[in-house]
Amino acid sequence: MAAGPATAVLALRGIRVSGRDRPRLEDVDLSLAPGERVALLGASGAGKSTLLAVANGLLSPAAGTVLWEGQPPARSRRGRRRQQARIGTLWQDLRLIEELTVQQNLNAARLARWGWPRALLNLLLPLDTEACAAALRAMDLDPALLEQPVTALSGGQRQRVAMARLLRQEPTLLLADEPLASLDPRLAAELLALLLAQAVAPRALLLSLHRPDLLDGFDRAVGLKDGRVLFDGPAARVNAALLADLYGGTPPGVTA
């Protein structure tokens, strides 16, 4: 594989995922270059979550190829885990471990690289405090929160901790499934800015979004409709007509 400077962080070709009555994804091509920030648009059920599940390896497509940094999914269990460690996902439901502290949650992102001794020690002692504090600071959080249980945090703080955990994993591919859905507009814009600031080469970001008004910081937008790519181009070129076509009516989120 030619690993030139422009090897795509993620490359999907001819992806097809079968569904119950119609394919959930059909013939999807998508490529993310290092440093690229791509927004995924589309109505509910258009296939955004399915596409992200293929991109993070949770779902194997029925047809098509997935390449992460130019490599197909590794066959060996160890190789596959090394690959997965470089894919960071920001889940819509955050998936923090409620019984653990902030620091233990941040360090959980290192489990792929740690062996058993450190994984167990993390449950007993605060490990890598400096790196964890840095991750919190990058998300505008007070490092004093490290010792708090995550149950003690506010909704906004939880969101930021989940993003800090993503940084702590040090992935090259950042994936996010509607991470801003449940936030108020100001906080959503603020957190999105923080996330976009992290997506610099060699990293790339793919984020599904249901509010076209937040497209500003993105390089590219990809529109999905009924499992197919409707358009793929510079984010600045997304206009009302395109959105109307995408959502089949008035674009959502404009009034929200």
Binding site: Q84, T89, E99, L100, A108, A109, L111, A112, L124
Partner: protein, 514 residues
């Protein structure tokens, strides 16, 4: 330095360290060949029709004893449970004090293991089918009564007060306001007790009270391993079928599972529940006929010889500290083994899908396999003593705890585990961090309850010798030393009650953060 919850769950497994040191000197190596034969016989059980017919007959007797004992315990438990409920007494008489008194009295039958009940009744009324039935019904009834009265007193009483204020008579108001809310909890607990009754009936058989347990013990003692395994596989089939039916009914009726102690079930199709219960009545009568249970025969008591002029000096001279210490050590070892090994084994097999099924089978065998039989089997290669007994008791309870843990792991939210696996952590660490975090507290709370059960149960492995109160009790029983027996039962009961109190406290502490 406070260990986080998933780590707490693994701490009991540290008991393996002292065991690894203490176990090798106990191996006398005499019977490895026998153990090999026994293991091989698992895949070549005897298919001889005569053997199978006799085993099936024994299985029928065991199942019948379990059913009758269980039904008796439900009836007894409902009556006594109502009698020991503060809400009931307060509604009927205005004062909750008698409830407290009855509740304390009921602690005694509850604290004595069904095996002790069985052996005592055996001495009193001679060998008859009703002995096993009664031995199960008495302690189980007291247990059901406690759970029932706890459930009753935890229910909100607003409905009840509203009905009373509208002039409804007390009994009718109680039944209308509390009955429907109580039914799901009672059925869920009752179902679990039926599984316990089947295990107990088998165990009582091992001590000569009839049924499949007796057959199993005889085949083991005569080293007829092929026939032994035929019996075990039959018992396994019946036990798994029973567990499947009960969990099916639980899901159908939406009654709460055993593990999620904090959550209350909603309960649906209450008419169907009642009809099922009603259908059990004629079934019990038929089974009673079939077994030849004769309640009148229970009235012919043989008087205990020599209880009046007991040798209390000799009783007092028993090595009490050593007996109590041995019992506690046995309980601690067995409980740590059972509580600690279940999560450890689940972690070990996590990467291999089919291994989980193997574990499920192993645990099912552990549940049905009476601990005294595994103890006897272990004696082929180990010296008798506390550790041998603890291994046998631990294996049995591992079966109970392991199943509980696996079922609850499979029914909790997979999101966190999935997220970790997706980030590249291996299946074991994803399980540990992602699932065990949430399960640790309820699991340990259940483990505390189980430790108390194990303390009560420690008598059943007394026959391997030198295990403390249990072995002394069986010895005193076989030498008809009634004075000693009385003292031993009293000490046992006292220990169990203290243990119950401690485990209740531990449980409340573990669950407080939920």
């Amino acid at each position: 330095m406070k260990p986080a919850s998933p780590l707490l769950m693994l701490l009991p497994a540290l008991v393996l360290v002292p065991l690894a040191v203490l176990l090798p000197p106990l191996v006398h190596g005499g019977g490895w060949e026998l153990i090999g034969d026994f293991a091989l016989a698992a895949v070549t059980p005897s298919l001889d029709p005569v053997v199978l017919a006799s085993l099936l007959k024994g299985l029928g007797v065991t199942a019948g004893m379990a059913l009758l004992g269980w039904a008796g315990s439900l009836v007894l438990g409902l009556v006594l449970g109502a009698c020991s409920s503060r809400t009931v007494w307060r509604t009927l008489t205005g004062s909750g004090v008698p409830a407290e008194l009855i509740r304390r009295l009921l602690a005694l039958p509850r604290a004595i293991h069904e095996l002790i009940w069985g052996l005592l009744l055996l001495q009193l009324v001679g060998l008859q089918p009703a002995v096993a039935v009664l031995a199960i019904a008495l302690p189980f009834g007291a247990l059901v009564a406690r759970v029932l009265s706890d459930l009753l007193d935890a229910l909100p009483t607003a409905n009840l007060e509203a009905l009373r204020a509208a002039g409804a008579p007390a009994p009718a108001a109680l039944l209308t306001a509390l009955g429907p809310a109580l039914l799901p909890g009672v059925l869920s607990y009752g179902g679990y007790r039926l599984e316990c009754a089947l295990r107990s009936a088998t165990l009582l058989g091992v001590f000569g009270l009839g049924g499949l347990g007796t057959d199993l013990k005889l085949t083991l003692q005569s080293l007829e391993f092929h026939e032994l395994w035929s019996g075990l596989w039959l018992l396994l089939a019946v036990m798994l079928a029973l567990e499947a039916v009960i969990s099916l009914l639980r899901r159908r009726w939406l009654v709460p599972g055993r593990f999620v102690l904090a959550r209350r079930g909603v309960g649906e199709r209450s008419r169907e529940m009642l009809l099922t219960l009603a259908a059990l009545l004629p079934l019990c009568v038929l089974v009673g006929r079939g077994l030849g249970v004769d309640p009148a025969a229970l009235l012919h008591w043989q008087l205990l010889p020599g209880l009046g002029g007991g040798d209390w000096v000799a009783t007092f001279a028993l090595p009490w500290p050593r007996l109590v210490g041995g019992t506690l050590l046995l309980t601690g070892l067995a409980a740590s083994l059972a509580v600690g090994l279940a999560p450890l084994l689940l972690l070990l097999v996590a990467p291999v899908g089919w291994a989980r099924q193997g574990l499920r089978l192993l645990w099912a065998l552990g549940r049905l396999w009476p601990p005294p039989l595994s103890a006897l089997l272990l004696l082929f290669v180990l010296e008798p003593g506390v550790i041998t007994a603890a291994l046998a008791l631990g294996f049995h309870n591992l079966g109970v705890l392991g199943r509980l843990l696996l079922e609850s792991a499979e029914s909790t939210d997979p999101a966190a585990e999935e997220a970790l696996a997706c980030g590249g952590s291996g299946p074991r660490l994803a399980l540990l961090y992602g699932r065990f975090s949430a399960l640790a507290r309820p699991y340990l709370a259940y483990g505390a309850y189980r430790a108390d059960v194990i303390l009560r149960e420690s008598v059943v492995v007394g026959l391997v010798g030198a295990t403390g109160l249990g072995s002394q009790l069986l010895e005193s029983l076989s030498s008809f030393a009634w004075d000693q027996l009385l003292a031993l039962v009293a000490v046992y009961a006292l220990l169990t009650l203290v243990g119950e109190d401690l485990s209740d406290r531990a449980r409340r502490r573990w669950l407080a953060a939920l």
